[in-house]
């Protein structure tokens, strides 16, 4: 219990759509949990609620022994106090700051020597040496992603959250950056939750898989296990695999490929 992130909550959007998040993942070992589902199924809302950027109406979110959200006791820790790293869909790098300043943004108050050392470490690890004096609009999509990772990781968060980190890239670049991202995620050793609607990404990047549909968690477990044993037709269809219960194959074309954006 002490070494898991557990979340069970309900968040209703002003439009009326209700999202139920139910997650449990280990936070003492490194693993990448994929939050998978079609566009609009509520996976980004779940991620944002874990980050503290959305406030659910009911439920509980605990990280280890810390209560992050408890509707009954009116506890809702701000994002500042959760010590998370968040990588946004289009990275949200501060346009008025250079790459170096972006990476060092979270280190205000850190002694100058220590700050420079940690920024340098990130710049080296993410191969940004040539770019550190440029601004975000002067670098490519793949480079932006590396800067966003470096910025999120510089203060060693206890949890890394990535919201569709590859969807802002064009198709040709996506594969290359995906492989790069896989390498980085293996190396950083921080438990990670990654939101995506891409099956390839899910298989290549994830250890654990949580499949969502229509605002509910449908199934969770190790990635390959879920791909081989979908619990219902909705999961099989969104993963594009055979639904053993129904005996037929859910075609890849059964559902149009969702657009990049999720609310």
């Amino acid at each position: 219990m002490a070494h898991t992130l557990t979340a069970g909550f309900t968040k209703t959007h002003p439009g009326g759509a209700s999202i139920q998040g139910e997650l449990g993942l280990p936070i003492d070992t490194h693993s990448v949990t994929i939050l998978f589902g079609p566009s609009g199924c509520g996976k980004t809302t779940v991620l944002r609620s874990i980050a503290g950027l959305e406030r659910p109406e009911s439920g509980l979110i605990r990280c280890g022994d810390d209560v992050w959200f408890d509707a009954e006791n009116r506890i809702c820790l701000s994002p500042q106090r959760r010590n998370i790293g968040f990588v946004f869909q289009d990275y949200a790098l501060f346009p008025h700051l250079t790459i170096r300043q972006n990476i060092g943004y979270a280190l205000r108050g850190t002694p100058a020597g220590e700050k420079a050392r940690r920024i340098e470490e990130m710049i080296e690890r993410f191969e940004l040496t040539e770019l550190d004096r440029r601004h975000p609009w002067q670098i490519s999509g793949g480079q932006k992603q590396r800067v966003a990772l470096a910025r999120a990781l510089v203060r060693s968060p206890r949890l890394l959250l990535l919201d569709e980190p590859l969807s802002a890239l064009d198709t040709t670049l996506r594969e290359e950056v995906r492989d790069e991202l896989r390498g980085h995620l293996r190396k950083i050793g921080i438990p990670t939750i990654l939101v995506t609607h891409d099956r390839e990404e899910t298989r290549l990047l994830g250890d654990q898989l949580v499949v969502m549909d229509k605002g509910r968690v449908q199934q969770s477990g190790p990635v390959e296990h879920v791909f081989k044993n979908p619990v219902n037709h909705a999961v099989a269809r969104s993963l594009g695999v055979q639904d053993k219960n129904a005996g037929g194959r859910a075609s890849d074309d059964a559902r149009p490929k969702p657009p990049n954006h999720t609310p």
């Binding site: 701000s78 994002p79 500042q80 501060f94």
Partner: protein, 224 residues
């Protein structure tokens, strides 16, 4: 040329702008961020000076600061002097009169900021106040500069409110616009013309320099 009036107008504009930046930035930030339903009421109050005749605004300010009003009595007991027909009274009226010219550009600048930049800063551990200074102000800078220039220029040119609240006391409340009006009334077209020309040149120079700086150094940051 009425140098004393020019000096007084500059001093009044400077003080008004300074107060408007200190009051207007937090107010505009709050208005741009809040989801409070009554927000439109505050926005309407802030915008009132745009539609009200200056004499109406001046009349109410004069009533509000008169020695028999609570504010007037409080000020007199605290500072030992009266607000009407004083520089301080004029300053108060100017701040109210120029409020929308500062706050509205500030609000539009703040509302154009992509919320994700603010959220990114919060997730990096920075408080809302720090985020305001480190992210919101730099990203809204062109709009903030517009608000500063507009409120300065607007205060330099005000006439009706000054006449109502400040009157025409040489060196205390006689601003450039009052001085020009005075000289025309006294048929001293020569002095009025000189002061007017000076005002025209000054205003043009300030605006030209601002726009040139804005174009060269302060551009809206590309966000992609």
């Amino acid at each position: 040329m009425d140098w004393q009036a020019i000096g007084l107008s500059l001093r009044l504009s400077f003080c008004t702008t300074l107060i408007l930046v200190l009051l207007g930035l937090p107010l505009a930030w709050w208005l741009a961020q809040t989801r409070w339903r009554g927000r439109f009421l505050i926005e309407a109050v802030v915008a009132l000076p745009i539609v009200l005749p200056p004499t109406v605004l001046g009349f109410y300010v004069l009533m509000a600061i008169s020695p028999r009003s609570p504010l007037g009595m409080f000020y007199e007991s605290w500072f030992g002097q009266r607000l009407p027909f004083s520089f301080q009274g004029l300053l108060l009226a100017s701040v109210l009169y120029s409020l929308p010219f500062a706050v509205q550009p500030f609000i539009s600048a703040f509302t154009t900021i992509d919320r994700r930049f603010l959220e990114a800063s919060w997730c990096l551990g920075e408080s809302r106040t720090r985020t305001f200074f480190r992210v919101a102000i730099p990203l809204a800078w062109p709009g903030v500069l517009s608000g500063i220039v507009l409120s300065f220029a607007h205060t330099m040119g005000e006439f009706g409110v000054v006449l109502m609240v400040g009157g025409n006391l040489e060196g205390v409340t006689r601003t450039v616009s009052i001085s020009i009006y005075d000289h025309v009334q006294a048929l001293d077209y020569h002095t009025a013309g000189q002061t007017s020309l000076m005002m025209l040149a000054f205003s043009f120079a300030v605006l030209a320099v601002t726009y040139s700086l804005q174009r060269r150094f302060v551009h809206a940051w590309p966000t992609r």
